[in-house]
């Protein structure tokens, strides 16, 4: 019984290759059914950044080979085209790999929490498809536990790693609760709208949209259930905003020092958070001099993310330690699974030989008293036990190192007993 994983991720394969080999939610049941022909137990994990197949197979080498073949079969692609992008891990390495993936350590943004849910979904889908068994069930459940531990015991997902979340983090640092705050977006643009969406997702109460084009303002406002206004009326809406995201195509400053001074006066100098996404900049940097005005441009937000990612890297070390501990737990369980039957089989094999040899000898020995017969019997038992004692202790303590060898050397798998 061997645990093996074959797959590809963002680190080894470009998106064009990943998208060809990915297995969508809709295709999953069919894929899982096909997988069962290759391995005894299997789970398919397919996200936008990785597709991995975990399997439990009877033989080490063929397990990985057949999983690679499965990739090709499922997608009707010749193996040679993508084989070089696939990696494979076995046994403890496979276990460690899965645990690291579940904890977010293998993700593009280290510490991202979504992957844990995706691992859980992959396991549940395999369970529904009847593809899992005792080993992979335990493996995946333990992986999810390890992932949860990393999430709660380290700060690895704690701080914003994207510009939009950095904006939310800063807004919270200034205002605390965002429920009663108003966000104003001036202009439009992917990054600005994403930042606005993230703010709204995190509780911002009210949204206002200002745009040069009336229609654009109205459309955007409808998206956020907000209030549209014309750019010419910016002066009057500015005081109502606590958070301003500016992203226009204007070549000069849209928000000037006098504008901001007036706005601050009108809002009683309550704090104001300005995010300037535009290049060239929309907001005159001099406005920072004003009290309670906090101006951040994209570079600043990026710097916040960079600093956060460094923190995450530090936390990753803690996470690796947790993963090692959890992997060791699984390994112990896994070993115990195989050790007992192996010891039983070894004893049975030895016992068969002992009985056979004893009866051969007894048939040639005549005139032995019952006491003598017992002595000889005890002799054979003693020899067998003493010879097996050290190997059995070795198996009990370090099973995973020896089980393979013992089963092979003593041909324990031949002729099921």
């Amino acid at each position: 019984m061997h645990i093996v994983v074959v797959g590809l991720n963002h680190k080894v394969a470009p998106v064009e290759v990943r998208e060809r080999l990915s297995i969508g939610q809709a295709d999953l049941p069919e894929a899982l059914a096909g997988l069962q022909k290759h391995v005894r137990e299997g789970v398919i994990l397919s996200t936008c950044n990785r597709t991995e197949i975990y399997g439990l197979s009877s033989h080490p080498g063929t397990g990985a080979r057949s999983l690679r073949a499965f990739f090709g079969e499922h997608r009707d692609l010749p193996l040679s085209e993508f084989d070089l992008f696939l990696y494979s891990h076995h046994e403890l390495e496979a276990v460690r790999h899965l645990f690291r993936v579940a904890a977010g350590l293998d993700s593009m943004i280290v510490g991202e929490p979504q992957i844990l849910g995706q691992v859980r979904q992959a396991y549940e889908a395999a369970e529904t498809g009847g593809c899992t068994g005792p080993v992979l069930s335990t493996l995946f459940r333990q992986a999810i536990t390890a992932g949860k531990r990393v999430q709660t015991e380290t700060d690895i997902s704690r701080h914003a790693a994207s510009v939009s979340y950095a904006a939310v983090e800063l807004a919270r640092k200034i205002f605390g609760d965002l429920k009663t705050r108003t966000a104003l977006i001036v202009g439009a643009g992917e990054m600005a709208e994403l930042a606005l969406q993230t703010l709204v997702d995190n509780g911002v109460g009210r949204v206002m949209v200002a745009n040069r084009t009336q229609q654009r303002a109205v459309d955007l406002a409808a998206q956020f259930n907000g209030q549209a206004t014309d750019l010419s009326r910016l002066d009057s809406v500015l005081p109502q905003a606590d958070i301003v995201i500016s992203s226009t195509a204007a070549s000069g400053y849209v928000l000037t020092v006098p504008m901001l001074r007036a706005a601050m006066r009108a809002r009683g100098h309550r704090p104001l958070f300005l995010i300037d996404i535009a290049v060239p900049r929309d907001i005159d940097p001099e406005v920072q001099r004003q009290e309670n005005v906090f101006l951040y441009n994209v570079d600043d937000l990026e710097a916040v993310c960079q600093a956060n990612l460094q923190e995450r890297a530090k936390e990753a070390k803690k996470a690796e330690a947790i993963i090692e501990a959890e992997a060791a737990k699984f390994q112990a369980w896994w070993s115990s699974l195989e050790v007992v039957p192996t010891i039983t089989a070894l004893r049975a094999w030895a016992e068969e030989i002992r009985k056979a040899e004893l009866s051969k000898a007894m048939s040639r020995l005549h005139g032995l008293s019952e006491r003598d017969q017992n002595t000889i019997n005890a002799l054979t038992i003693g020899i067998v036990n003493k010879m097996l004692h050290t190997p059995i202790v070795g198996l009990k303590n370090d099973g995973h190192r020896y089980i393979e060898a013992v089963r092979e050397l003593f041909r324990l798998d031949e002729g099921q007993r």
Binding site: D155, R172, F175, G176, R265, G268, R270, P271, E291, F294
Partner: protein, 273 residues
């Protein structure tokens, strides 16, 4: 079990609490901040006992010398902090308030603590009222000072776009500023009452409401600083860095009023017989 022993034990418990708060800020583990409450409350209970004992021993409220003043004032400060901690859910302030409290009690322990006779003039019902009001005001102003310092730390980090781990624990700007303002709002009337009761007492004892005595003058300056703060906040919108610095200046005035005057120039408020 005498007053000093109880006070010492309370200080030890406060020190334990201070350490837990500081550790909390360093490691950002919430449990530490929660545990810090236990030695804190235990210490406060002991300090309450100590003050009660002192009161009964001396048969008068413990406001007759600097030692008693500090003992009572720290008791009030811890009380204000406990309430603020509940109301604003801000444990971080503990890392500032508790060490300060321990330091003050530490200083108080070395001050003369004998229950000596009072100057006849101080044997008056005005004493506990006037002194009590002043201590309440000082406790509130100390809290506003701590909150302002925390505000200034956070504000400078946000303005300067610096990033240091410890800042993450600091409460949001609006919360700290709001807290600081609230503390001044609460402390100010007590300060005014202190001056007013002092004036009436002065009239009955020395026949003059005001004599420009050092402490009186210093209190007046303190009142002025905080009054300027109120006006600046409302009229000129000093809700940010400038307002915070003004509150720090106000606390400076409080310190001068309380300590500077008592130590540097004796006057009406001299306790010695």
């Amino acid at each position: 079990m005498n007053t000093l022993v109880l006070l010492g034990l309370a200080a030890l418990l406060y020190a334990g609490s201070a350490l837990l708060y500081i550790w909390f800020v360093a490691t950002r583990r919430l449990v530490l901040g929660q545990w810090a409450d236990y030695p804190l409350m235990a210490g406060w209970a002991l300090q309450s006992l100590a003050l009660l004992m002192r009161w009964t021993e001396a048969s008068r409220p413990p406001v007759t010398n600097i030692f008693e003043f500090i003992a009572f004032y720290t008791w009030l400060l811890v009380l204000v902090f406990l309430v603020v901690e509940r109301a604003f859910s801000q444990r971080v302030l503990g890392a500032f308030v508790m060490p300060l409290t321990v330091l003050l009690i530490g200083v108080a322990v070395f001050l003369p603590k004998d229950i000596g006779p009072l100057r006849p003039i101080l044997e008056s019902p005005w004493l506990p009222i006037h002194a009590g009001f002043s201590l309440v005001a000082y406790a509130f102003f100390t809290m506003s000072f701590v909150a302002s310092i925390v505000f200034l730390l956070q504000e400078s980090q946000l303005k300067g776009r610096r990033r240091r781990r410890v800042y993450d624990l600091l409460p949001p700007l609006e919360t700290t500023e709001g807290l600081a303002y609230r503390m001044v709002e609460l402390g100010f009337p007590f300060l005014v009452l202190t001056i007013v009761t002092g004036a009436f007492w002065s009239q009955t004892a020395w026949g003059a409401y005001w004599s420009w005595e050092p402490k009186q003058t210093a209190s007046l300056i303190t009142v002025l600083v905080y009054a300027v703060y109120f006006h600046a906040r409302v009229a000129a919108g000093w809700r940010g860095r400038r307002g915070a610095w003004l509150m720090v200046a106000g606390f400076g005035a409080v310190l001068i009023t309380f300590l500077g005057v008592a130590l540097l120039s004796p006057g009406l408020h001299d306790f010695a017989v």
